[in-house]
Symmetry: C3
Subunit: 320 residues, 3 copies
Amino acid sequence: MKEKYNFELMWSKNTEKRISSVVSNIINNYKKNNSITHIHKYPIPSKEQIINILDDLFEILYPGYFTDKDLNNANIQYYLGDKISNVYERLSKEIANSFRHEHIIKNNKCELCDDSIQKGAESTLYLLDNIPKIRDLLSLDVQAAYDGDPAAKSINEIVFSYPGFFAITIHRIAHVLYEKNIPLIPRIMSEYSHSKTGIDIHPGAKIGKYFFIDHGTGVVIGETCIIGNNVKIYQGVTLGALSFPKDEKGKLLKGLQRHPIIEDNVTIYSGATILGKTVIGKNSVIGGNVWIVSSIPPNSKATLAHSEKNIIIAENKKKK
Amino acid sequence: MKEKYNFELMWSKNTEKRISSVVSNIINNYKKNNSITHIHKYPIPSKEQIINILDDLFEILYPGYFTDKDLNNANIQYYLGDKISNVYERLSKEIANSFRHEHIIKNNKCELCDDSIQKGAESTLYLLDNIPKIRDLLSLDVQAAYDGDPAAKSINEIVFSYPGFFAITIHRIAHVLYEKNIPLIPRIMSEYSHSKTGIDIHPGAKIGKYFFIDHGTGVVIGETCIIGNNVKIYQGVTLGALSFPKDEKGKLLKGLQRHPIIEDNVTIYSGATILGKTVIGKNSVIGGNVWIVSSIPPNSKATLAHSEKNIIIAENKKKK
Amino acid sequence: MKEKYNFELMWSKNTEKRISSVVSNIINNYKKNNSITHIHKYPIPSKEQIINILDDLFEILYPGYFTDKDLNNANIQYYLGDKISNVYERLSKEIANSFRHEHIIKNNKCELCDDSIQKGAESTLYLLDNIPKIRDLLSLDVQAAYDGDPAAKSINEIVFSYPGFFAITIHRIAHVLYEKNIPLIPRIMSEYSHSKTGIDIHPGAKIGKYFFIDHGTGVVIGETCIIGNNVKIYQGVTLGALSFPKDEKGKLLKGLQRHPIIEDNVTIYSGATILGKTVIGKNSVIGGNVWIVSSIPPNSKATLAHSEKNIIIAENKKKK
């Protein structure tokens, strides 16, 4: 490339001086805006490492799907033992870092006099202990996808490629960590899933058995949602908050119940918006694009009135 | 890191015992929930490999755009010959694995007495033979994007960065494989595209020439859609199913025509939902956010009635 | 794998001949459809390299968040100096390639008699000089997210994982390059962000201080939008064009003002669509799902009329 790209032209006489001034201006800015600066000897969790760990958890949850090793009944326990020990060491450390970081922010002294390492190890073992239960749930979720989508050709297709199944897999992991009050990591996991799928499930949401999200892009499920068993949700559905209570200083109150409760056997079609502390009663169907801010009784069907009558069909004068 | 992160604290006395119990509990669960377990000596396709192959197909379809090699008229045939042979070997194997896997599921014996390898090779050659045709279509699609978007500065910009063009590229590949009845792989491809773009086109959809999706996030195009020539679609448009016929056992019937037919020269604006076996007649314009479940005659313009009158404008009492 | 996958079966007698014919057919097609072919000794920018540079810019903007190095007050200037020099060299080259490419397209001769290299170096230094200003803006944006979302647990959580914050970070970089009229690269950056977040902000949009997009999937902000200070936007909001003026040959006019102006202190709830050269007056609130194509005075609240009355609630006859 040298013959095409003349580096001498790029490193002109005063470039060095300008680069050096760039560096010192940025360092000054690091001190000024320190909320977005982390220059500190104790590390925070690594987003990259957390995503790698999730990849390993997929290999553990769905053995044989996401590895190029041939697994059989003889080698499976060595393969799994190795994966599990590895996840144990790495996730313990990330969780310890996240507790340590929170500890340092709250108590600006005494960096080592805390129990972050034990809490990291204990929380990771708690997650690993829960993997059989998580797999029990996921084997129902995969069945819900197969039973609910006429385009689903096989269970394998769902495990490999369905975004709704990817999202619920990560949610079931992240929710276990959220319930152990681990800072940062559950949300990093859920936003990784959001990025991959367009499905935004806050790790705090409680979701029952046999859950299926079809297509999924644009789905939002808020932090304090409670979803029953056998619920099916389509793309673009929002289960969100309606109002944000503030404290006496005008700051938002965090953590209050502010999202819907969806009871068992409810289907919510694409683009529906359900906001606030509403209850959607069991066995109900919520039609596409509806806007709901108060509760719906059980066994209801809520649909847009005159949705077709609201459309005017005229001649297209710009036709080609 | 050792001075900061004390591994002894993490590997406490009974950790080994707990890890070992985690491993055996998970292995027991593998046997219990075997629908999401693939412990078997014959491999299934590799999602990672299929994505790598798609990357290579982009380099083949758009030479010079996605490689750091300098291509010229002398080296192009060696470059291409190498890429093509490489894709041939790898994709043949993935397709063979996907046929083999289906064969084993259906016939639980006689793992080698099938023609998976020949079918893998033949299907791959069929795709490669179709690349000039696919490029003919894509060179019209890129023109449709340039002609249809005032923000498009150049053809290069579209090839490099437009999500709608990325999605139609992958769709035109995946659809060729779908029509050869290859299991798993077409859907893995289309869901990779969905993940990258927010545009969910089922590989079964038939799409005509000069097709453009602008912005694209949230678009859903169902398995049995048929789209004519010169169709333009905006973000958030759903071309979906309205009802899901079931068999006598209450199981969904798979594969039936259940999605819209969009005729030539139709434009569909953002957020429109068109469901069921409807026909949108040629030269029609479908306005934003409309909800359509029955057919629209040719040369129509379907828009929301009173969309602005439906809005109440009041004073904002919470103004700052 | 050889015992399972018989390569002899794959390389049958006439395979070589068929591969060779595939290669020459594709090469013929390269000449035919040359709009999507770049076989030329002068390179175009590398999308992969631009994404790598963005990763480095994240490490520069948020020191300590996205690196596994321990940063402290002693090593920070070496770390930063190295990163900055590195970005300088690589981005200068990409920008030079993008100017060179445009120069060659416009003047089909005289490939070296241009000032692409100097322009690449100068534009990169301009961006680097602006990093403290960009950080000033981003430290307000992160505060807007914390103040505006009851689910936000900490500033760290936002930096690590919020898609709206990722999108505004990339936008603030891409917009600086857009204003220097650099071809291709700003849009490659913004579409990378779109792909990761589902938030589509054209690099041309002008966005004020203290900006927050919550959830974000499906947001579209067009090229000529102007957004004031303290604006908050939810998922699925479109700030788009209404009509596309054409020249006398029927070709789209590029670059005209065609998108909304959003004044200070405006909140726009999920799914709202605002189109054309409208002005949303300061301190206004735009309700979910509204469709707006004309201006709204300051201090207004625009909401769907009868949104709940438009819903029919009936008994769900298919209840389980």
